[in-house]
């Protein structure tokens, strides 16, 4: 505070010169003497009291000197620091915001790519599932067909067998029946021949198809 160290003596000296020690005393004395008598004195706002002026200068400069050291300078620094801090914070916030925006765009791009990928995977899975199910259905149908054919063959075989047995038994029965009818006139050799002839003719017969 070189400024005030220069100016203060000037001002105080000036005041002393203006007021003068004698005037300070005379002011003080007249104050004391007049007491209540000055009530009647007219109101003059321009009257200058050197003692009050000097007092004001001392009080004001005293306050300035004390507060300069303990309040004003620390406050100037504190406000500057606060301002810098706020400016810094705003700058950082702006940077963070831009960074966040960049990241968001990047992630959105990545997300879009991933989405496409996912869609492709799903599509492929759906296609796979479709082909697999079609294959399964075809296989099942094939198997069913094969099973059917096998069962059909079995049935045919069984029917064949049954027919053969039926033929045999009916031939035997017929021969027995015929033998009983004509047993008296047929010798065993002729009997045997007739049976063989009958068997041969039956064997030539084909069982009818089932379907």
């Amino acid at each position: 505070m070189a400024l005030f160290r220069q100016v203060l003596p000037l001002v105080l000296g000036g005041l002393l010169i203006c007021a003068g020690p004698q005037r300070i005393v005379s002011c003080a004395e007249s104050h004391a003497e007049r007491g209540e008598a000055n009530v009647a004195e007219s109101v003059n706002p321009l009257d200058f009291k050197a003692d009050l002026a000097l007092w004001t200068a001392v009080v004001f400069v005293g306050v300035l000197v004390v507060l300069r050291k303990f309040a004003w300078k620390p406050l100037v620094e504190a406000l500057d620091q606060r301002e810098n801090h706020v400016r810094q914070e705003i700058l950082e916030a702006e940077n963070a915001n831009q960074e966040a925006k960049r990241l968001l765009a990047e992630y959105q791009k990545r997300m879009a790519a991933v989405e496409g990928e996912v869609r492709a995977i799903l599509e492929r899975a759906r296609k796979d599932a479709q082909t697999m199910s079609e294959e399964l259905i075809a296989k099942a149908r094939q198997e069913a067909e094969a099973e059917y054919q096998r069962k059909l063959a079995e049935i045919e075989q069984a029917a064949d067998q049954a027919l053969k047995e039926l033929t045999q038994r009916s031939a035997t029965l017929a021969v027995e029946l015929a033998g009983k009818i004509i047993s008296a006139r047929l010798d065993p050799a002729a009997h045997q021949r007739i049976i063989e002839q009958a068997l041969g003719s039956i064997a030539e017969l084909k069982p009818p198809k089932l379907n």
């Binding site: 104050h31 009050l52 007092w55 004001t56 100037v76």
Partner: protein, 297 residues
């Protein structure tokens, strides 16, 4: 009892006693520290006691109301701003309503008065002075709104000194910036005028500028004093209407009392505004003058 402006004025002026209710007068003491003697040649006293061998300087001062109030203002400023500076150190934000209130004012003077007027970089150097002026004037103004106190700023002795100190700060800032010669030469802007006429004009302009500089600061003192004095005088006069009609009819006295108190309330609010406004104007103009002397053209 008639209406006497002088009686009303007594309550606005400085006094050697506090007049409290119930006729209590708190008389302020005369401080007498004896006299000191200095040799006749000592500056600046030699200017008065020319020729005398020994000059006696009496250290006597009659305490007045305004002196006590100024001391109260000083204590108030210490109590508010020293703890506040401690709280706000390192750029911390203010806490509490009172601190936020003062913080807002400090920041306003810094950002909207000092910086535009003086400049971003130089403002910090003059902020202590501007803050000190603002709060000293403001608190002195506001003291006038307290019962039984008064506004020291309603006295030319106080505002004159404040203006003189501002003048010192303005000229000191200019000298610090441009040098003693540079500052006083710079009062007149550089002009392209040749010949004797040019020189005469520049010299005349220099004196006009110098007078203007002094007048600006004198007006600073008068403006503040007149505002505070007039406002308080009007308050006192309106209040004294009650006393003026006290001995007349009851109904008249009642009517005047109601009107007078209502007027007081309204004017008090105006005074509250004026207290802030005048402190602001004083500070604003001081900043402007400092700015003009730091940046001369």
């Amino acid at each position: 009892m008639g209406l006497d402006i002088a009686v009303a004025g007594e309550h606005v002026k400085d006094a050697t006693a506090f007049h409290l209710p119930f006729g209590i007068h708190l008389d302020l003491p005369l401080i007498d520290l004896g006299t000191i003697q200095v040799p006749g040649g000592t500056f600046p006293f030699s200017l008065f006691g020319a020729g005398r061998e020994v000059i006696e300087i009496p250290l006597r001062i009659q305490l007045t109301k305004f002196m006590v109030i100024e001391l109260a203002v000083a204590v108030l400023m210490f109590l508010i701003f020293i703890p506040m500076a401690w709280h706000l150190r390192g750029g911390r934000p203010p806490r509490g309503r009172l601190m936020t209130f003062f913080d807002a004012i400090l920041c306003y003077i810094r950002n909207h008065v000092a910086r535009p007027a003086i400049g971003e970089h130089e403002a910090g150097r003059f902020l202590p002075f501007l803050w000190n002026v603002f709060f000293f004037v403001l608190f002195c103004n506001l003291m006038g709104l307290l019962p039984w106190a008064g506004s020291p700023t309603g006295s030319l002795s106080v505002t004159g000194v404040l203006a003189l100190l501002t003048f010192g700060a303005v000229v000191g800032a200019g000298i610090q910036e441009h040098g003693l010669l540079g500052y006083f030469k710079g009062l007149v802007p550089r002009m392209d005028m040749k010949g004797a006429l040019g020189i005469v004009l520049v010299i005349m302009l220099w004196f006009i500028e110098l007078a203007g500089l002094c007048i600006k600061h004198a007006v600073l003192a008068v403006r503040l004093m007149a505002n505070m004095f007039a406002g308080h005088l009007v308050l006192a006069v309106i209040l004294s209407f009650i006393a003026a009609v006290a001995s007349m009819w009851m109904i008249l006295w009642f009517g005047v009392t109601v009107a007078s108190v209502a007027g007081q309330v309204a004017l008090m609010m105006l005074e509250l505004f004026v207290a802030f406004l005048q402190a602001y104007i004083f500070t604003f103009l001081a900043a402007l003058f400092i700015g003009m002397s730091v940046h001369q053209h």
